[in-house]
């Protein structure tokens, strides 16, 4: 263990990687932050220091006389155990070094990837997680999607809820989508049939419009397109920014499904299957 008489936090290593300046690009490390010294080639010394990144380190590379790695490392150990407050590991500008076999060669400081963190084992998170940057899952992804029950008079899914499933429970509810942006996506499922004044309404922000088609169908096998059979309900976005489902002529029976996906600013793509009854009329307005 560290001898309590040795305080390495108030003593420092100094390294200057600039051949043209006495101080440009110079770095200083407390001796206590030294992790290891490593010869990875003849004359190629690497020193690893803790840095401010999470689980990260900075490498100082010093090129020196080939085959003198052990002697160089011992020079540094001796310096650590001396009384020197500041130890010059290598200074390209002056050629100074505590390492006897340093020949004034190249010095390079490579900071670690800031904030990069690699986990080689499994990760289990009990609480919720937020990813503010892009996330990549190279081995696929599995698990339940988040759901939100639409059992209140209004609902306003957020950007952060993109990708989740919103479930109409048969209660009256007007859902207002957030301002459209590419990549946003919401899936609406009807787990109960709507009826009477308990409408299911999906509407957009004022400047946004709906583009796309919904397959409209009624109970049973439909062999042909008909008002009371199968139809395709299409909107090209000129005026439409609202879908209203009533459980009969405008669909909204249990089993119905609508998906909206952001195409670009002000343009939602919509598709899905709506089950209704009687002569079907458009849901778009």
């Amino acid at each position: 263990m560290i001898d309590t008489n040795t305080n390495l936090s108030n003593r420092f290593f100094y390294v200057n990687q600039s051949p043209t300046s006495a101080s440009d690009s110079a770095r200083t490390f407390p001796m206590s932050r030294l992790i290891a010294m490593n010869m990875i080639g003849d004359g190629d010394l690497r020193m690893s220091f803790d840095d401010s990144g999470a689980g990260d380190h900075t490498i100082v590379q010093i090129l020196m006389t080939s085959g003198k790695g052990k002697e160089a490392i011992k020079d540094i150990v001796d310096a650590i155990n001396s009384n020197q407050k500041i130890v010059v590991l290598a200074d390209e500008f002056t050629g100074e070094s505590i390492i006897n076999d340093y020949e004034g060669g190249s010095v390079t400081v490579s900071s670690g990837s800031i904030g990069a963190f690699a986990l080689n084992g499994n990760l289990s998170v009990a609480g919720s997680s937020t990813f503010n940057g892009a996330a990549t899952f190279n081995a696929g992804i599995q698990g339940k999607r988040r759901t939100q029950h639409l059992d209140q008079g209004t609902a306003a899914p957020t950007v952060g809820q993109s990708g989740s499933i919103l479930v109409f429970d048969g209660d009256e509810c007007t859902v207002t989508l957030p301002a459209c942006a590419i990549g946003l996506e919401y899936t609406f499922l009807f787990r109960e049939s709507h009826s009477g004044s308990d409408l299911a309404i999906i509407t957009t922000a004022p400047a946004d419009k709906l583009f796309g088609s919904l397959i409209r169908a009624v109970d049973g096998l439909s062999a042909s397109f008909a008002d009371d059979g199968t139809q395709v309900d299409t909107t090209t976005g000129t005026d439409d920014n609202t879908m209203t489902m009533n459980g009969t002529t405008k669909g909204g029976i249990v089993g119905s499904r609508i998906q909206v996906t952001g195409l670009t600013a002000n343009k939602w793509q919509v598709h899905g299957e709506l089950i209704g009854s009687g002569n079907q009329i458009t849901v778009f307005s």
């Binding site: 263990m1 560290i2 001898d3 008489n5 040795t6 390495l8 001796m31 030294l34 992790i35 290891a36 010294m37 490593n38 010869m39 990875i40 080639g41 003849d42 190629d44 690497r46 690893s48 990144g53 999470a54 689980g55 990260d56 380190h57 490498i59 080939s66 085959g67 790695g69 052990k70 490392i73 011992k74 150990v77 001796d78 650590i80 155990n81 670690g112 990837s113 990069a116 963190f117 690699a118 986990l119 080689n120 084992g121």
Partner: protein, 108 residues
């Protein structure tokens, strides 16, 4: 005194680690190898892979003696620079160490 553990496989493959970073020494079930674990960054990794290993090949049934020698040098030895194993110069902290078993990982 800040003590350091030195391992040298060749002139281009050596590492020196502060002794306080050594976390355990393992003896294999044939008692002919000592694995020294250190808590530090390993090759090309960041984050959780903090295990740096040096395997020492030792004479059969002498592993415990090797471990004792290393412990004694860290606890009461007078040298800050502790050469645990140096294959280049055939210098070992204990005569029962015959070699560093395999190449040492680069720290990158």
């Amino acid at each position: 005194m800040e003590k350091f553990l030195f391992y040298g496989k060749s002139t281009s493959d050596m590492v020196c680690i502060p002794a306080h970073r050594m976390v355990e020494m393992l003896i294999d079930n044939n008692s002919d190898k000592v694995t020294v674990h250190h808590r530090m960054y390993n090759n090309s990794t960041v984050g959780s892979d903090m295990q740096y290993v040096a395997d020492l090949t030792v004479n059969i049934n002498k592993a415990k003696q090797v471990v004792d020698t290393i412990m004694n040098n860290i606890s009461t030895g007078k040298d800050a620079f502790i050469v645990v194993a140096d294959d280049v110069n055939k210098q070992y902290i204990d005569d029962n160490i015959t070699a560093i078993t395999s190449g040492l990982d680069d720290i990158a």
